[in-house]
């Protein structure tokens, strides 16, 4: 499993072809706005960033809100991390 992070909406265009079926995606910073649109894969989003932007309750399902310790756990479970920005 590879963990992809996306920190802005435009980051999705960079990695959309690179996310394999069993990969995971974490949205952070302005990347959490991607949760406003339907996405082809299941995602997590950093709760602090979702709250800061007033997006609690506005995101499409299924977006799982996580904190930084969950993010660290995902990194340890992944083989490697790809950061898209």
């Amino acid at each position: 499993m590879i963990l992809h992070t996306i920190n802005k909406v435009a980051g999705l265009a960079l990695c959309q072809h690179l996310i394999a079926a069993d990969d995971k995606v974490v949205l952070l910073e302005d990347g959490v706005y991607l949760g406003l649109q339907p996405l082809a894969f299941s995602i997590c989003a950093i709760r602090l960033d979702v709250e800061a932007r007033g997006l609690v309750g506005r995101l499409k399902e299924p977006v799982e809100l996580i904190d930084y310790s969950d993010f660290v756990s995902l990194c340890t479970e992944a083989d490697k991390i790809c950061s898209w920005f």
């Binding site: 910073e29 302005d30 706005y33 709760r47 602090l48 709250e51 800061a52 932007r53 007033g54 609690v56």
Partner: protein, 117 residues
């Protein structure tokens, strides 16, 4: 005296740009007739319920409530950009006038200077 249109096009919090844009608008409104137009991801600055307590940064969205007090003439946003983000003006912290292309072009035409942030 030149009138000024401030265009806000950046999302909040990801960088200081949105906040520094608002600072400029508040300063401008002390000197001359100013309006503001939110376009692109700039419309996201206006979303209700922003809470930066846990993030530890400044929640400058609270300052939008002061725009009327500062005498800002018109507070408008791009209707196409609002719709493209699945938002409605009821999602906004303050009363904002959504404009179509012709309305935005007229707004630009009716101000002497345009500053984008």
């Amino acid at each position: 005296m030149s009138s000024m249109l401030f265009v806000f096009s950046r999302p909040p919090h990801g960088s200081i740009n949105a906040q520094e844009g608002l600072d400029a608008l508040l300063m401008g409104s002390a000197f001359t007739a100013c309006s503001v137009l939110f376009v692109g991801d700039g419309v996201l600055q206006l979303v209700t319920g922003q809470s930066t307590d846990a993030l530890g940064t400044k929640n400058f969205s609270l300052s939008f409530g002061a725009l009327k007090d500062y005498g800002v003439t018109r507070i408008a946003c791009s209707m196409p950009d609002l719709l493209a983000r699945g938002l409605h003006k009821s999602d906004f912290l303050i009363e904002v006038e959504p404009l179509d292309a012709a309305g935005m072009q007229a707004l630009i035409r009716h101000h002497d200077k345009v500053l984008n942030f």
